[in-house]
Symmetry: C2
Subunit: 340 residues, 2 copies
């Protein structure tokens, strides 16, 4: 049985649209909440046996076409010698925002980058049904740098933007280092069993197109090119950045994932048929219940051509989501008749 | 001496570009922090004498072309009988998200809407230099509804979006009520001395263009039209919504204010010369210091034609901003020679 998500990323026709859900291993699942009652997020993500269990939980309940390794966006950062704690988001005791601390960041040996994530991937790979694609993931250089510079999640990441505007050359050094770290991390994930990887640019949209093109794009391009040369299928997710869609669409990746703000049918018309598009139901629709979910999913499938469409939400599933809404979404995708 | 901001909004040439700063009465000012050491935000905003003092503080230090009344986005909500506390953002004990609570919202008598804000405006008006424009402000219906439904600021306001998707008709009722409240509130501010008003659509960008056009735009249009009929000059601020710029630009307002993500020069080309444009330095540039601020301001003035340009930041000034950066921004604007 072949993996239909990989087929779609490869530009091949599929018997139906592949579907998975961002943050599908998470708090909307009672079995996940049960595990989280016994262990912290860090304990789950740091233990390959538990992380593999969490990765597989949604697959046991729902007919999803991908598993995505349960890890944190910050998992590779430990290899830079930067301690991260969670409260509940990532917090760095020593943010990296001056020349001395940026230049002191080491180049990590690939095998030293989050070995627990590689072990999780190997474990999941052994248990996964053959039709299910195993996805690795990592943060885009800009998004990872956001946490390193700010020290924690903060609306708009003003210190990140201030560093970029105030000392562009130093900022380039930082993005270069982060980019090499994430590239090595994703290559290791591929070697450990990931069939494809998704690059999350969660804070993509903080910049104007001109600033993004000048400061951010080159590092993202270098990283994606290197992954491409190694034969790793790439999904690129740009969140909250509809004004940057043309820039993201021009980057080398098999699939472009967009948040719910974008009109996927319009993006399909502008990028042409060559690229897979992933998304992009508003996760809030699922909060509204299965009837609203069914309506919105039908509308999405009606508007976006099936060929090269990977159904997903436009952002992570919300913790309060009823399971019935997830089922409704999957039912609509599975019921669809595709004209071949 | 005539008010150059009003001239620019009226489409008239001005001897130099008008300039003011969003959140100019705020924590970057030592004299504001001193007052806040003695009183909470609510106490300052709720007391007309203190609020007038806070409104005037930045004008005593800097040659700004506008004063904006110190009040909270939630100030008019009290007139709906909804108690709001601050922790530090607004928190509603009883969010408004079901049919019963939405239908129970009263239509407020205009004179009952935030009388302390009207008294603040009258006090400021008496002390303001004649060349300085006095601005009132209010939240756009969608942005105010965001807090009413969610109960507090929350990333992405998922319950707001869920209500919109799940029960569009009920959502329309809510937006209609909020819209009528804000319209009455802004008309009262005009009567109390505001020369013009700015409508803040801070959470404008949460929706796709199609959803925004269907659910949000009609209420915003009705509100702006009613203000226009009453002769109130209107500034419309859309934050984090570069994908909705064409929609906002088509609404009736003398001035369109955009965040730093938008290319104001490009927007000028697409909207033509008839509309004032306000903005849009990245507030983070000011964190980087006066040299970076001077460079970025010069670049903004070089790219955006002077006629009809109101210089401002692309969002509120950050609390950590050095005063020297504010001075650098104002210096560049005041030094500019405008060819008449």
């Amino acid at each position: 049985m072949s993996k239909i998500l990989l087929q779609a990323l490869g530009g091949h026709p599929t018997p139906r649209r592949p579907v998975w859900i961002m943050r599908q291993a998470g708090r909307y699942l009672p079995e996940y909440r049960e595990l989280r009652g016994k262990a912290t997020f860090e304990e789950l993500a740091g233990n390959a046996e538990l992380a593999a269990e969490v990765t597989l939980q949604p697959l046991r309940r729902f007919p999803l076409d991908a598993a995505i390794v349960f890890a944190d966006l910050m998992s590779p950062v430990g290899a830079l010698g930067i301690p991260v704690r969670f409260d509940p988001g990532p917090v760095l005791e020593r943010p990296v925002r001056d020349a001395a601390s940026i230049r002191a960041l080491p180049e990590a040996a690939p095998e030293a980058i989050a070995p627990e994530v590689m072990e999780t991937l190997r474990r999941v790979k052994r248990e996964l049904a053959p039709g299910v694609t195993l996805l690795g993931f990592g943060g885009a250089p800009w998004t990872l740098a956001a946490y390193l510079v700010e020290g924690q999640g903060k609306s708009g990441f003003p210190r990140l933007r201030a560093l970029m505007h105030g000392d562009p050359a130093l900022f380039q050094e930082l993005l270069g280092k982060v980019s090499r770290l994430v590239t090595a991390y994703l290559l290791e994930q591929h070697r450990a069993g990931a069939d494809a990887v998704q690059v999350f640019d969660s804070w993509a949209g903080l910049l104007s197109a001109a600033d993004w093109t000048a400061h951010v794009r080159p590092h993202l391009a270098t990283m994606l090119e290197e992954l491409g040369r190694a034969g790793v299928p790439r999904l690129l997710f740009a969140h909250e950045a509809p004004h940057l869609t043309p820039g993201y669409a021009a980057l080398p990746a098999e699939g472009l994932a967009l948040c719910w703000r974008s009109d996927l049918a319009e993006v399909r018309r502008s990028v042409g048929p060559a690229r897979a598009l992933q998304g992009n139901l508003d996760p809030a629709v699922l909060l509204a219940g299965p009837a609203a979910t069914r309506r919105a999913t039908q509308e999405l499938l009606r508007r976006v051509p099936a060929r090269g469409h990977v159904v997903n939400l436009g952002h992570g599933i919300l913790p309060e989501t009823p399971l019935e809404s997830v089922q409704a979404l999957l039912d609509v995708v599975h019921e669809e008749k595709i004209a071949s």
